[in-house]
């Protein structure tokens, strides 16, 4: 069974449960850019139900952005991201595995930072040490010394992670009580590995700060990190709805209240909206909007300066 997540509090169904409702197509960024039903979670699930192999689905599996928008809309509660990751693991060839292992071996061991609250940033934010330091101060936390970028890459590409490397990374998190995670993709894995650690999306944590909320304007487009949002959808849909009610800004949400990913859809997010400023939770999302020009783009942490 591909994608059947069991043994956790959030046990979900596998690909066999897909009834072909196509609700996942409505929110899939790959569907929106290709209009090819084979390149969608439903296309993969239905093909698997009727005899396709992972190799048959290679192009489809590789096209997925892992934004997770498909999961909250699935009425059968299928672990659609898990299904795609399982398929990627089947497809990982020897060359990809070797390259991944080499990347991990080449990493210099980093002494862990000891703190009760840690920030796990993505590559773009990690590269901006000042911005990351400021965020850590706002949250009374410290940035993780080991950003686990090689592990994140392995998880997304389906290549194995040597137990020693994984243990080294996790040991840096074990003493913390709260982890602020910039890329929500981490959450599905870290919750399984460190079930006692409290994990909060970085965007959610910053948007709870009074100074940040107070600086949001009606004419702002607030861009939610799609991965963090979808993995905690039932809780966060309420969080952002309350933020909308309080500040009247607009969000990158569709009519189903699913977050529209920015990578290929920033133009669609902006279409028909009256926006004066774009506020992003993820550094990478800001870069996607810069190509449209004309809009100042700020990270949500920068609102604390206003």
């Amino acid at each position: 069974m591909f994608g059947s997540r069991s043994g956790t509090a959030a046990a979900r169904a596998g690909h066999a449960a897909c009834s072909g409702c196509s609700l996942c197509l409505l929110v899939c960024p790959t569907w929106r850019s290709t209009h090819d039903p084979r390149m969608t979670p439903e296309g993969r699930a239905k093909a698997l139900q009727h005899g396709a192999t992972a190799e048959d689905l290679r192009a489809s599996v590789e096209s997925c952005t892992l934004c997770g928008a498909c999961e909250p809309v699935c009425p059968e509660q299928i672990d659609l991201v898990g299904m795609t990751l399982d398929l990627r693991a089947r497809l990982a060839d020897a060359e990809a595995v070797a390259a991944s292992q080499e990347r991990m071996k080449a990493r210099t061991p980093i002494p862990p930072v000891s703190a009760l609250r840690l920030v796990l940033a993505g590559p773009a934010l990690t590269a901006k040490a000042d911005a990351l330091g400021k965020i850590a101060r706002l949250l009374d936390a410290r940035a993780c010394a080991d950003d686990g970028a090689d592990i994140a890459h392995a998880l997304q590409s389906g290549t194995p992670i040597p137990p020693g490397r994984l243990e080294g990374f996790l040991s840096g998190l074990r003493n913390a009580k709260t982890l602020y995670v910039e890329d929500g993709f981490w959450m599905r894995h870290l919750r399984a590995w460190l079930p006692k650690l409290r994990m909060v999306g970085l965007g959610e944590a910053l948007s709870l700060l009074a100074t940040v909320r107070g600086a949001l304007r009606k004419t702002d487009l607030y861009v939610i990190d799609t991965r963090a949002y979808h993995v905690d959808y039932e809780r966060l849909v309420g969080h952002y709805d309350r933020l909308r009610a309080e500040r009247a800004c607009s969000f990158n949400l569709d009519l189903q209240r699913i977050a529209i990913p920015t990578a290929t859809q920033s133009a669609w997010i902006l279409k028909g909206r009256s926006v004066e400023r774009i506020v992003v939770e993820r550094q990478e999302d800001g870069e996607a909007f810069l190509q449209h020009g004309g809009y100042p783009v700020v990270h949500v942490a920068e609102l604390a300066d206003h």
Partner: protein, 525 residues
């Protein structure tokens, strides 16, 4: 084979000609059937056809990954595999496909959202043409209140685009993933259809690729005969590639729910509201026949106030609290029905919060009714197997039809739902309605009821489900009704309800339009 039993001979009959029905006695026993395609298409000419498509630049996918994705429809009881799949990209590509299919006599089955329940969008060989590849909105005329869109688009994707202009479509099925083209071909009902008509009546103009590959623009005034046949034509007379539809300004909804314990009373009140244009939205949704919910909603404060002043007091339904008290009394006196009471209570606990999710409401007003209702439909009624027989009648026959259908549901399933709505008819579209879901004797309004078992994960045999459907459809034959889902596995009823003369006339038109009988050949005829 027993020597005394003659072998079942399947006669060799050319597509497009009539032969004896070779289907062995089955669940439709006793029903006179004639098929234009008496045997499954076995792949003759496929290689030559595939080669021609390649030469024409039409991408044809023959892998199991591509074909397997279309093995069944939303009904999940009809299974079949196409020889190959074409994802629609343009009218010209569809035209090239159909011309080659005519020349090589290869069946083409067209699929939009795949939400048929009787196998109408399942290909039993030949080509599966997936229209969802044509999903772009082409132009929105906000002043003229129309939209031009490719016809493979899902209604919800269209709604997303329209909302950015503060517009909305008129009416569409409450499931998010019906396609525009597929809906225009069969009808499409919404909780505002009693006022705005069926979805098919929203179409102002269409671009159609005929079964012989001509690309034709049609409307009520231009190529009107083709327009007449394609609208509500169950895909027999062409592939809709583009559509111009009426749209309207977007409005959030003011919802009211009234609860009844009598189906007939609720239906009478529904028809009272419809006759008097007392609401903007109206429909009945039940849990069994015990909790009958009349839904009434409004686009504006003024309409809501007018309803409250003039009509609300005439409704015989109760509010949620009052109805709850009545139910408490009812089941206190009937302790042997405790199981039913617990089921109703459990259903209420699960379903009601879904209909009131705060992110879709603002200040007591529902922002996105299609999202709210459609998500609930998929969550509570969706599944790998969906059987939804229906009856469509004139207004005066409707209560009888629903009561008789309800008795059938009671006999076959422990739990089920009924969904009833009115459909305002357009007098100028009477020709469109011939041999469609609109019953011939309906005047001003037709009424439709879907009978939907809630299987709760329990597996039922195909025979059980088929017998249930037959029992519902027999009511239609008896009282002179029509059906929304009369194609595919239920096509045996077409001649029973419409009569041979009418069906033969349509078949003659089909033969003329589609000489090799390639387009959606197993759906109606």
């Amino acid at each position: 084979m027993n020597a005394l039993t003659p072998a079942l001979e399947i006669p060799s009959v050319e597509p497009g000609t009539l032969g004896a029905c070779p289907v062995a006695p089955d669940a439709l026993q006793g029903i006179k059937r004639q098929q234009t395609n008496p045997s499954r298409w076995r792949g003759g000419n496929w290689q030559a056809f595939a080669g021609e498509l390649q030469g024409l630049g039409v991408e044809l996918s023959e892998s199991i990954a591509a074909r397997g994705a279309y093995a069944t429809d939303a009904g999940g009881t009809a299974y079949g595999l196409p020889h190959g799949v074409v994802v629609a990209r343009s009218a010209q590509q569809v035209s090239n496909l159909l011309k080659a299919a005519q020349a090589h006599r290869v069946p083409v089955t067209v699929r939009g959202g795949g939400l048929t329940t009787e196998g109408e969008s399942v290909a039993f060989g030949g080509v599966l043409l997936d229209m969802t590849g044509m999903s772009k909105v082409l132009a929105i005329d906000a002043a003229g209140l129309t939209v031009r869109t490719q016809a493979g688009i899902f209604w919800h994707s269209l709604a997303e685009e329209l909302r950015r202009e503060n517009l909305d479509y008129l009416s569409a099925p409450l499931n998010l993933t019906s396609s525009v083209g597929g809906t225009l071909g069969v009808g499409g009902i919404d909780v505002n259809s009693a006022r705005l008509g069926c979805s098919a009546d929203q179409a102002v103009a269409l671009q159609v690729v005929t079964p012989t590959g001509e690309i034709v623009e049609c409307s009520d005034t231009h190529n009107a005969e083709l327009f007449e046949r394609v609208i509500l034509g169950y895909g027999q007379f062409g592939v809709i590639t583009e559509a111009t539809l009426k749209v309207r300004p977007y409005t959030p909804l003011r919802m009211h729910y009234y609860y009844y314990s009598s189906l007939r009373t609720a239906i009478e009140d529904l028809q009272l509201l419809d006759r008097n244009d007392a609401s903007d939205y109206s429909g009945i949704l039940t849990i069994l026949d015990c909790a009958v919910n009349l839904l009434v909603a409004f686009d504006s404060v003024e309409r809501e106030a007018a309803f409250r002043a003039r009509w609300e007091s005439r409704l015989r339904g109760h509010g949620e609290f009052g109805f709850g008290l009545r139910m408490l009394g009812r089941y206190a006196l009937r302790p042997w029905k405790l199981g039913e009471a617990l089921f109703l209570l459990g259903r209420k606990r699960e379903l009601f919060p879904e209909l009131r999710r705060p992110e879709y409401m603002r200040d007591g007003v529902m922002l996105d009714r299609t999202v709210v209702f459609s998500r609930a439909v998929w969550k509570f009624w969706g599944g790998r197997q969906m059987v939804i027989p229906d009856l469509a009648t004139s207004a005066d026959k409707f209560a009888d039809a629903v009561e008789r259908g309800n008795a059938v549901c009671r006999k076959y399933f422990p739990h089920y739902t009924l969904y009833c709505v009115g459909i305002r008819l357009r007098p100028d579209h009477r020709e469109h309605y011939e041999m469609s879901c609109i019953p011939p004797d309906a005047e001003e309004w037709a009424y439709g009821c879907e009978f939907e078992p809630m299987t709760n994960g329990r597996a039922y045999s195909r025979d059980h489900l088929q017998s249930f459907k037959n029992a519902i459809y027999d009511i239609g034959v008896d009282i002179g009704a029509s059906y929304y889902r009369f194609g595919g596995m239920m096509k045996g009823y077409i001649r029973r309800v419409f009569g041979d003369t009418l069906v033969e006339r349509h078949l003659a038109m089909k033969r003329k339009a589609d000489p090799a009988m390639i387009l959606n050949r197993d759906v109606i005829f």
